[in-house]
Structure formats: C-alpha cells, structure tokens
C-alpha cells in the first residue's frame, strides 16, 4: 500500500477575483451609473409633478402612480424574477457569483417592493378612504415582500458561506414556484369578494404626456435598480473575498 501526498499547490483562483470591467470598483470611488440613475429619478419625479397634467377625474394624487407602477415593475418582475432564476441556476451551476446576484436582487427588490407597499396605501387612503383594502395585486406584493424578507433572514442565520448559498437557493427556487399559486389564491379570493374599483394605470387611452412620463419613470427606476444592484453585488464580492482571506 502506498500513502503519498504531493507538494503544495497554491490557493486556487477565487471565482470573484477576475471580475468583469463593469463590476470593478472605480479607483476614484465615483459610481457614474449611480449618479446618472439618481439624476434620472429626480428628473422623472420633477417631470411627473410639474410637467405632466393631472388626471381630470382623480386629481393630483394620481401622480403617485408614476412611482408606484415603475417600482412594482422593477421590484416584482425584475428583482424577484432575477432572484428566482439565479436561485435555480445556483443549484445547477454552483457558482458563487450567481449566489451573490441572488442576494443582491433580493435586498434591492425588497426596497422597491417596500416603495410599492407604501405608495399603494397612500393612494388607497385618498381614493377609497382606507389605508389597506386587500386589493389583489397589493396583497400579492405583501406576501412576496414577506417571502423575500424570510429569504434574507435565512441568509443571515446560516454560518457557512457554502451552506448559505445552497439553502437560500433551495428557498428561492421554491419561492419561484409559489408565486403563481399566491397570485391564483389572492385573485380567486378577490373574485368572491369584489374589491373597490382600482384604476388600472395601463388604460388603453392614456394621453401622450402621461405615457411618456410613465416611460421615463420606468427607465429611471430601471437604471436605479441596476445601479443599486451593482453596488450591492460589489459589496457582497468584497465581503466574501475578505471572509475567504480571513479563514485561510
């Protein structure tokens, strides 16, 4: 019988060390994308407030939709979509970068969904008289928000990085399966208990100014999402790199 062990091999290349150019932290610490995104958002808000006519029927409060809807589009479809896809992908290809993407999408998505959950009731209060009316979409958003929060609490509760990535990927994948069921359940529930009439901002005949403001607002929020996502991802990369160094 032979028992042999060969000479040392150097530490393997960290999956995060060779990062793409658009992910590298600028030496001067200036995040251009973030500045552009912030300006775009401010521009969108200004445009919505001062340069877009108020809706004849609903009044000035309707303008909250210029924040509410883009936040929903970005927070629900894009952030949660990214979270779901990267969770499933991680289980298939165990790449740490995918895990960091999931983590970042979850946190940034939580913020955007939070915006949806605060702007929704503000609108609801002014038009229905109640802060919360268990409207289908808003209720679904609330459940999703709680789900993503639980996901982040899970991540915080697991010690080892490898376990954390794996376990949260399982939860994320199952959450992806859950979303259609939540939507179905809430819609069915609402079908039995007719809700106050909600004005759907995607009315077929929106005046041009409103449409462009919506478009502008959506693009601005999208830029903000990408900027925040990238910032959060970089932070996660640096944190993991430091943790790896400390444990070596």
């Amino acid at each position: 019988m032979a028992l042999v062990s060969s000479t040392t091999r150097g530490p393997g290349a960290n999956s995060s060390s060779a990062s793409a150019p658009w992910l590298r932290v600028d030496d001067h610490g200036v995040d251009v994308l973030m500045i552009v995104a912030a300006l775009a958002c401010i521009g969108a808000v200004v445009r919505a407030l001062f340069f877009t006519p108020a809706d004849a029927m609903l009044g000035a409060v309707q303008k909250i939709f210029y924040i509410h809807v883009p936040a929903a589009v970005v927070g629900l479809y894009i952030a949660c979509g990214l979270l779901a896809v990267s969770s499933i992908m991680y289980l298939w290809i165990k790449d740490d970068r995918i895990d960091r993407l999931a983590e970042s999408s979850a946190e940034v998505g939580l913020v955007f969904m939070g915006v949806v959950l605060t702007t929704g009731p503000i609108w609801g209060r002014s038009s229905w008289g109640t802060w919360w009316a268990w409207e289908a979409r808003l209720t679904s958003t609330l459940f999703l928000w709680l789900l993503v929060l639980a996901y982040l609490v899970l991540r915080g509760a697991v010690e080892s990085q490898e376990s954390r990535a794996r376990l949260s990927a399982v939860m994320g994948s199952l959450a992806a399966l859950l979303v259609p069921f939540i939507h179905l359940t809430v819609t069915l529930f609402r079908g039995m208990h007719p809700e106050p009439v909600v004005l759907a901002p995607e009315k077929p005949k929106l005046p041009i100014e409103m449409l462009t403001t919506f478009g502008f607002s959506t693009v601005a929020f999208l830029l903000l999402f990408v900027a925040l996502l990238r910032m959060r991802y970089r932070w996660a990369t640096m944190r993991d790199a430091r943790a790896a160094l400390e444990s070596a």
């Binding site: 289980l91 459940f143 999703l144 709680l146 789900l147 929060l149 639980a150 609490v153 899970l154 509760a157 697991v158 010690e159 376990s163 794996r166 376990l167 990927a169 399982v170 939860m171 994948s173 199952l174 959450a175 399966l177 859950l178 069921f181 939540i182 179905l184 359940t185 069915l188 529930f189 039995m192």
Partner: protein, 232 residues
C-alpha cells in the same frame, strides 16, 4: 456478496424512518402535548372573544380551525429534525443505503400523522365549542383537511430541514413556511366555510383544484429539493 441484505426500497425505508420518528414522539410526547395545549387554549380564547350575534359560527370556525392546524403543525415540525441533530443521528441515516428521498418521505409521513393527531383533537373541539351543525357533507371537510395537511407536511418538513442548519430555527421556520401555507390555508378555509354554510360542494371546486395542484407541484418539488439541503 452474501445474500444477507436486501436492496433499498423506497416505501419500506420511508416507513422505517416514519415509524422511528413516531415512536420517539410517542415516548416523549412533548411536541404533541404542546400542540394540544395550544389547540385547546386557542379554541377557548376564540370562543370567548366571539360575539355570536355579530358573526355566525360557520364564518369564524374555519379560520379558527386553520390557525390551530397551522401553528400546531409548526410546533411538531421543528422537532422533526431536532431529534436527528442531538447526537448526529442524521449522519447515520445519510451514510446508510437508504435514499435521501425515502428519508424525506418518511419524515413527511411522520409529520402528517402528527398533524392529523392534532386535528383529530382540534376538530371535535371546534365543532363542540362553536355549536356547529354536522351536515351530510362533513366528509368533504375531512378530505379538504387531508389535502391541505399533505401540502403542509411536505413544505413544512423541507423547511424544517433547512431551518435545522441555522441558529434561529424556531423563529425562522414560521417565517419561511407561512407564506407557503397561504395557498393551502386560504383555499382550505374558504372551502370548509362554504360547506359549513350549507352550500353545495361544487361551489368550492376552484378552491379544491388549487389544493390538489399545490400538493402535486410542491410534494414533487420538495422531494427533489431535499437532497440539496444536506451538506455535501
């Protein structure tokens, strides 16, 4: 190889695991007692804070029932993996010839029996305390409860496996599972309310479909996901 062993068999192995879990729970009875006490307390509190002239019994009872089932179920779920961790008994299970899937199925079965035992206690208590009239369609309520319990056990067991790897298992388990219970509890409560109100079962068909669909999708998904929750 000598013929002194048999090959691993899914149902046999799962049953062995389930039997072991149930035997342990039967010996210690701690989780079942906690769940029963909770159930009785909940029924009493709901009963005495309820104004019979305001809301009819069959409007309140399903909600009460499902609050009890859900939280009592959670009490049992935690211990499902806690008992494996005490002396690393889980390592022995994993190193054995049994498949991961059969281990999971066994634990789900044990949790299902646990939940059913609590339900067998809580359901008569609710019927009694709330003076519900047991109509000819009572079997439908039992079927609904069973369907929802299957989904509850499968999802709950999987998340119990995940939570057992964390520091905050008792807090984390409810946080993770309650959103998943929504498509189970709402349809089950709505459908039960329907039947208690005296409406024909056909009216609740949509809810039943959601329950069945959830069970099919999530029982398979959890069986597939379980091996990923184990350290490798």
């Amino acid at each position: 190889m000598t013929r002194s062993h048999r090959a691993p068999r899914f149902l046999t192995d799962a049953w062995q695991v389930a039997r072991k879990d149930l035997l342990i729970e039967f010996r210690t009875r701690s989780a079942f007692l906690a769940a029963s006490v909770f159930a009785v307390l909940a029924v009493v509190i709901f009963r005495f804070t309820w104004d019979p002239t305001g809301i009819p019994a069959f409007e309140l009872a399903p909600g009460v029932l499902w609050v009890i089932f859900t939280f009592a179920g959670l009490l049992g779920l935690n211990r499902s993996f806690a008992l494996e961790q005490q002396d690393r008994a889980f390592d022995a299970l994993l190193a054995s010839q049994m498949s991961r899937e059969s281990i999971f199925a066994g634990k789900v079965m044990a949790n299902l029996v646990f939940v059913a035992a609590v339900q067998a206690l809580a359901l008569p208590a609710v019927v009694l305390f709330f003076d519900l009239s047991v109509g000819p369609d009572w079997w439908a309520v039992v079927v609904i409860i069973l369907l929802a319990s299957v989904g509850l056990s499968a999802v709950g067991t999987l998340f119990a496996a995940i939570a057992s790897n964390t520091r905050l298992a008792e807090l984390l388990l409810p946080m993770m599972t309650l959103p998943f219970f929504v498509p189970l509890v709402i349809p089950a409560a709505q459908a039960s309310a329907l039947i208690m109100r005296g409406q024909p079962i056909g009216d609740g068909l949509a809810w039943l479909k959601v329950l069945v669909a959830f069970d099919l999708v999530f029982v398979s998904a959890c069986v597939v996901a379980f091996p990923f929750t184990i350290e490798e």
